[in-house]
């Protein structure tokens, strides 16, 4: 394994342990490493977007017709975000991106996430299909706003709450599962060769930090 790769793994494991020090308490080491990764991530996003857009899209298009040069000034109009007087020019590129985003999913959201959902529910094979339909109708009715949920509607809305709560229970279960897997990956990395060399270093630093905290608390109590 080359020097560069070993070095980057050691820095990565130092980074992981420094950020884990947040569990002890928020400290300067944690804040410095966190700012390092926010800066590096923003830097990476900027250069990889710029390079791919130039190589794959702008350069080949410029060869075909000079009209493509117009995309550059329109793109630079984003920078009017920072001007007090001409802020409204920033709205032109934003209008293009929001408009196209709205357009591409305008009909498709209505078909896939509304009409196809209703059609899918209409096919009822067994009692579980009936339960699914009842659950969806009552849970959807729970959000009905312009009518008091009194009389018979109270039971419909109450049943809807039961289905929502069971579904949210599954949501909490999967969220816990997800967080466990996240930490397992970090633990696997820390236990891998050469990353685990940093663990004793971190433990020593932690011990010093805890000892300094303990001494500071001791001095404070004696002073009082």
């Amino acid at each position: 394994m080359e020097i560069g790769e070993t070095l980057s793994i050691l820095v990565a494991s130092a980074m992981t342990l420094a950020l884990m020090s947040y569990l002890w308490r928020e400290n300067t080491v944690y804040r410095i490493f966190e700012h390092a990764f926010i800066g590096a991530a923003a830097g990476w996003g900027a250069i990889s977007t710029a390079q791919v857009t130039w190589t794959n899209y702008l350069e080949p298009s410029l060869k075909t017709s000079w009209l493509w040069y117009l995309t550059i000034p329109v793109g630079l109009m984003y920078l009017f975000f920072f001007s007090k007087k001409y802020f409204w020019l920033y709205r032109y590129p934003i209008a293009l991106s929001i408009g196209s985003g709205l357009g591409v999913s305008f009909f498709r959201t209505m078909k896939t996430s509304f009409i196809e959902q209703l059609r899918g529910l209409m096919i009822i094979k067994d009692w579980q299909g009936v339960l699914l339909v009842v659950g969806t109708i009552t849970a959807l009715f729970y959000f009905y706003a312009t009518r008091e949920h009194t009389g018979p509607f109270r039971y419909v809305s109450e049943t809807g709450t039961w289905f929502l709560m069971i579904g949210f229970g599954a949501q909490v279960g999967t969220a816990v599962m997800a967080r466990i897997s996240l930490f397992i990956a970090r633990a696997n990395f820390l236990l891998s060769e050469p990353a685990y060399y940093m663990i004793p270093v971190a433990l020593v630093l932690l011990a010093i930090g805890v000892y300094r905290d303990y001494r500071k608390k001791l001095i404070e109590t004696q002073v009082l």
Partner: protein, 216 residues
């Protein structure tokens, strides 16, 4: 006159863009489809300039912190990491033609700082969720009682150990996902489509001007 260019022309562009692209998704007609395809390339190029805004915002806010307090180590670190990545990456690409994805030093920085940073901060949620499970998750009413019982069945049911404790646990967890869970998700999806579609119509009608940001 100036209100025309400040508000109505951008709104007009948005409505025109929406209707053209929406038409492309439902009409199969070669000229229209090719035009929208070229428009997509143009919009991808224009959209990539937005990255500059976030880089400048970060630089301005942290430069301000440094001006106030010369020793703001965190801000120096952030600006240092960001601008080293950008300047070195551009230099290597423009002069040596090496792409950032293939540039070894940039890959070392990414693997040393960005990859572990992101995943560790999210991995910390593992400890936060465990502590919240013990100290804050309380079955105070019927709603949270159902939620907690189903949550526990799920946490154990979906892990391999679930089958050892009770043979039917994984099947129960799967049934919860397939029927009540699916009912909740479908209801929330329909509700979300309804509210986002109504909001989109208000944007198209010009009543919702949040996207225009500050100013008249």
């Amino acid at each position: 006159m100036s209100l025309m260019f400040k508000r109505y022309v951008p709104w007009g562009i948005l409505v025109a863009m929406t209707s053209m692209v929406a038409a492309d998704t439902i009409i199969v007609q070669t000229d229209l489809n090719n035009m929208i395809k070229s428009a997509t390339t143009a919009l991808s190029i224009i959209g990539s300039f937005a990255v500059m805004v976030s880089v400048i915002l970060l630089t301005r806010s942290h430069a301000g912190k440094i001006r106030k307090n010369k020793l703001a180590v965190e801000s120096w670190t952030l600006l240092g990491c960001m601008w080293v990545m950008i300047i070195y990456g551009l230099y290597r690409f423009i002069f040596a033609g090496v792409r950032p994805i293939a540039e070894p030093t940039i890959q070392y920085i990414f693997n040393a700082i960005v990859a572990p940073g992101d995943s560790t901060v999210y991995a910390l949620l593992y400890f936060v969720i465990a502590s919240a499970c013990y100290r804050a998750f309380r079955a105070k009413n019927m709603r949270s009682l159902i939620l907690l019982i189903v949550g526990i069945v799920f946490i154990i049911g979906r892990a391999p150990i679930g089958q050892l404790l009770y043979v039917g646990m994984p099947d129960l967890a799967n049934w919860i996902l397939n029927v009540p869970g699916a009912a909740m998700v479908k209801a929330l999806l329909l509700a979300e489509v309804i509210s986002s579609f109504a909001l989109n119509i208000r944007v198209l009608l010009g009543q919702e001007r949040g996207w225009m940001g500050r100013g008249d």
